[in-house]
């Protein structure tokens, strides 16, 4: 009986964001994100052209070509198909963002837990460092780190983690501090539970939803920062596709009235960020969690 209930509870837990308050937002965000995930996974089947394939005759390749039936989003200069590059580009973006969010979570959450629970000198030193980094413009830091490491998706992910570790750390530490003072943690102590049980069994589960919300926030932010890095050429080397870089490369087009080469890559960035933001928002509403941003 108990086992069954447990399974049911886990399933219910997974379905929870799709129910209750905020479900509309969450579901919308989820769909958007899934569209891009599918795009990334099945890129070779979805994209009509390769990312660096000249998709128009040579004489048309020197100029960006406006959207048409064969090229619903038009082409870039050199004849690359905009839609195809967006599809291929989703791979880089999702890879960088997922890796960075996971990295910063893996580092930030345990640090925040321990720091918040035990306090002391380590906590003070760590908070000070994290707060300083947090108070600093993330993209600037990411640019600095990424230009040290050189342009590559993994390096971009590492640079982004440097920015988002403090975000996870602060949120988890704050929550832990709060929960540590809560009655049920005192109750756990009164029951003679060792720290390990309290930390993992009582504090962590209550920090977890917040962590997920922060994950949504950080992912949103990371997409924009990733785009910023790409914009400055710090994620991949052209002609590898990445939305931010494509946008940057095409910016000179706008003065000639060419809009599609900037519009669609930018739209992709914003949509994907929006997807994560909506998920985070729906989730935070579901669990009534307030965030700083």
């Amino acid at each position: 009986m108990a086992g069954e209930s447990r399974r049911a509870r886990i399933l219910a837990g997974l379905a929870a964001p799709f129910r209750g308050p905020g479900r509309g937002l969450f579901t919308a965000g989820f769909i958007i994100v899934m569209v891009f995930v599918v795009m990334a996974i099945f890129a070779p089947w979805i994209a009509p052209y390769g990312p660096t394939e000249r998709s128009v005759p040579l004489k048309l390749a020197a100029e960006p070509q406006p959207p048409s039936w064969g090229h619903p989003m038009g082409t870039f200069q050199l004849g690359y198909d905009v839609f195809s590059r967006i599809v291929w580009g989703s791979r880089v973006v999702l890879y960088v963002v997922a890796l960075s969010a996971i990295l910063s979570m893996i580092i930030g959450v345990p640090l925040g837990l321990v720091s918040g629970y035990y306090g002391g000198a380590l906590d003070r030193a760590l908070s000070m460092v994290m707060d300083s980094i947090y108070a600093f413009p993330g993209i600037v830091l990411a640019i600095a780190v990424a230009s040290v490491l050189g342009p590559s998706p993994s390096n971009a992910a590492i640079s982004l983690s440097v920015v988002y570790v403090p975000t996870f750390y602060r949120m988890v530490r704050g929550q832990t501090l709060e929960i540590r003072e809560s009655l049920y943690v005192e109750a756990a102590r009164a029951l003679g539970f060792p720290d390990r049980v309290t930390l993992l069994g009582h504090i962590l589960p209550n920090v977890a939803p917040t962590t997920l919300v922060v994950f949504g926030l950080a992912a949103t932010d990371a997409i924009l920062t990733e785009a910023g890095l790409a914009f400055f050429g710090l994620t991949v080397s052209y002609p590898q596709p990445d939305w931010g870089l494509d946008l940057r490369m095409a910016m000179k087009d706008i003065l000639n009235g060419v809009w599609w080469t900037t519009f669609f890559p930018g739209l992709a960035i914003t949509l994907l960020a929006l997807g994560f933001a909506l998920m985070g928002e729906g989730f935070s509403e579901r669990y009534a969690i307030r965030t700083e941003r």
Binding site: M128, S132, I139, I254
Partner: protein, 337 residues
Amino acid sequence: MAGLARYIAIRALLIIPTILILYTVVFIILRVIPGNPVEAVLGTHYVPPEVIKEEMHRLGLDKPLYVQYFDYLWRVLHGDFGESMVVRGRPIAADLKYRIPATIELITAGFLVSVLLGIGTGTLAAVKRGSRLDYAMRIYGIATYTLFIPWVGTLLILLFSVHLHWLPAGGRLSASVSLHRITGIYTLDALITGNWAAFADALKHLVLPAFTLGLVLSGPYTRLVRTNLSDVLQSDFIRMYRSRGLPEGKVLRYALRNALIPVVTYMGLQIAILMGGAVLTETTFSWPGLGSYLYQRISMRDYMAIQGTIVVFAFIVGIVSLLVDITYALIDPRIRY
């Protein structure tokens, strides 16, 4: 008031470790960067190796790292940000002095736009809580935050500069306009000197970047004002006001006053995001500020310039959070310092 003075003094002291930490982080990052700044400057020109060596020596780059660390720290404490490595003999302080006002002008304008937009939309949402308008404002709050600044920037340029020819696509001032530089904040300088043509021109240049930055950063304010204000509007003292026959307008005013207090705290956090956004905005709109300077100098490995800029960034962060704290202490009578 002595309490307040003490409070300010202590807060000001607290900026120091923040700056030190950032300086240290940046110092470490920069020193592991591969690439020799001297070679970078000389580029593809042929230069004998001993010249490079000599130049490294002159710049003190051959000293042990810890010596460089403290050397620089010592100099910064004396207001000396060192000399550029790219432009030999050029004091970084001069570059910074030129660029700081541009960034301040941009982020101040962006800040004002974001706060006004945010308070407006947030108030609308809170007052019409649960309505379609509220929903729209919520989406606004989420969606604006997810806008990619260069994208918004290019779209605005496309519309207002390329198609309509209403506003310039970049820069701070038209060449045809002359302006006596006092503070370096052009709109302000124009006002001080009563130069209306320059004021209009500077403002025209400022509109698009400031709006881009402000729009993107207004979302969090919308959300913050919305939640705070609807909390406050549900609080007991609002009911108290209503039960005494106060008209809704007045009630809303008192409610806003309470709801905006936490918003002030957020303004401190906002500064980092604002400056981050400024880097992208400056690049998009060719705005000659600290952000674009930093990006340029990072690619040139101009250590001194990067260090200097970061220290200035840290200072701005520190000073703004100090200002926010003081504002907070002044507007919330509950704060005891």
